[in-house]
């Protein structure tokens, strides 16, 4: 048990060396945006949970780019995928810059205490590849609305308990962008 617990720590300690600390906003690539070194455990936890969340989201938007029946929905999925790919690169870079693992062993679950599986799991994502074309848009919107609601909940973690200014500002952008996406999706859902 102790060995199992220690293994991730050791992996983390031996992981990717910290990136250079100098702030860089050259404007050429999001991956070059650095986060300040002043952070706490909540900042790290939020980013690690969000990496997991973003990877799921990218699987879902990839499915929608290929299968969405409504051209408006396809355009939205393309834009979300493009922005979230950059977000993922950026926050993985922040974690590496702090010497923290970007992987978590267990899927984070905001609802573990009262028997709830998270809104998005492997089975739900898999369903987007098997659902009939005619039902794809409703299926995707149902899942991705939940996914983005959960993103806003995750962002509340760092709003309430974070320390790092870059992480907290990222959390605010997550709240704003996901709310905007949810508004567009709800209108597409019922048009």
């Amino acid at each position: 048990m102790i060995v199992a617990l220690l293994a991730p720590l050791l992996l983390g300690a031996c992981g990717t060396p910290a990136a250079p600390e100098s702030p860089s906003t050259s404007g050429t690539a999001v991956a070059e945006i650095k986060a300040a070194q002043d952070y706490n455990d909540t900042d790290v936890m939020f980013l690690q949970m969000f990496v997991h969340h973003q990877r799921q989201g990218l699987q879902m938007t990839a499915a929608a780019v290929g299968r969405a029946q409504d051209p408006e929905l396809r355009t939205l999925a393309e834009a979300v995928r493009a922005t979230e790919q950059d977000e993922l690169k950026m926050i993985e870079g922040w974690l590496r810059g702090w010497g923290k693992p970007t992987e978590v062993d267990t899927a984070p679950n905001l609802h573990a205490d009262h028997g709830g599986l998270p809104g998005t799991g492997p089975a739900e994502i898999e369903s987007l590849t098997t659902v009939a074309d005619a039902e794809f848009d409703t299926a995707f919107l149902s899942l991705f609305l939940a996914h983005q609601h959960n993103a806003m909940e995750l962002a509340n973690l760092v709003k309430d308990g974070g320390r790092n200014a870059d992480t907290m500002a990222f959390g605010e952008r997550v709240r704003a962008s996901r709310q905007g996406e949810i508004q567009q999706m709800l209108r597409l859902m019922s048009k």
Partner: protein, 262 residues
């Protein structure tokens, strides 16, 4: 109410077995289509709803309520009949689709009109599927109706409440209607016994977002196409991925996937 988060804290090098984070509300599911009142708030279709606009999935209360807000003061706007909730025109057969942010074991889903249960769908005390939809024949309830949809959780005493305003038999083709006149502020909306078949009251602003004017200032709610040029904070940017703009998607170092600095 505290929410416990299951998280591999070894990744943080922490000893504690779990981390408790205070949370102001639970959050798990709502009816997205036809839009429930909380969905209308979250979509921005009905404005000034208060915090429910950020978490339409959170109308959780003990089982047995017949109220749109579940009896929760924080969500009382959902029971405010003076808010002129737009009713969706639907045919007799209506399919209700849910969004679930957590897949709780489900006792059942129940649907009510005027306190009478009109449909029940057994959840088998199992975790629901990825997409949950229920189709109900509402032919016996023509005209304007306030339907209550309830998700009863299997392993807690709680349920989730949604009111869905419908104009049954009003034709499924028109997306939404808004009453042309405001209902009385003290009484619930008058319910016509028969739906006026060809009288969709007012067309809501459902037309797509406006196209941009070339070189115009960036704005939220505009449909930008690849190649469009905007100005933002004195600089020019070219759209590299078509999208309808939202807050936080303005041109910046964080949105290079959407906007290329010129």
């Amino acid at each position: 109410m505290r929410r416990r988060i299951s998280y591999p804290l070894v990744a943080l090098g922490m000893i504690a077995s779990s981390l408790a984070v205070p949370s102001p509300a639970q959050a798990h599911g709502y009816v997205s289509n036809p839009p429930s009142r909380q969905a209308l708030c979250a979509a921005g279709t009905v404005r000034d709803c208060g915090p429910i606009q950020f978490e339409p999935q959170s109308v959780e209360a003990p089982k047995g309520s017949q109220r749109c807000d579940g009896g929760v003061a924080q969500w009382s706007v959902l029971s405010d009949e003076s808010r002129n909730w737009p009713a969706r025109n639907v045919g007799n057969s209506v399919t209700f689709t849910w969004v679930m942010t957590a897949r709780h074991r489900t006792a059942d889903w129940q649907y009510f009109i005027d306190g009478t249960r009109i449909a029940t769908f057994d959840g088998g005390n199992a975790q629901p599927d990825a997409t949950v939809s229920h189709t109900i024949d509402l032919g016996r309830f023509p005209g304007r109706q306030r339907l209550l949809a309830v998700w009863n959780i299997g392993d807690t005493p709680m349920a989730f409440y949604n009111c869905v305003d419908l104009n049954v038999g009003g034709g499924g083709a028109v997306p939404t209607t808004r009453p042309t006149t405001a209902p009385p502020t003290t009484a619930p909306p008058v319910t016509p016994t028969t739906a006026p078949p060809a009288a969709p009251t007012t067309a809501p602003p459902v037309a797509g977002p406006p196209p941009p004017v070339a070189g115009d200032s960036w704005a939220a709610g505009v449909s930008y196409r690849t190649g469009d040029v905007v100005t933002y904070q004195g600089k020019r940017f070219q759209c590299r991925q078509g999208h309808t703009s939202i807050n936080s998607w303005e041109p910046s170092i964080f949105t290079l996937a959407l906007w290329l600095p010129l």
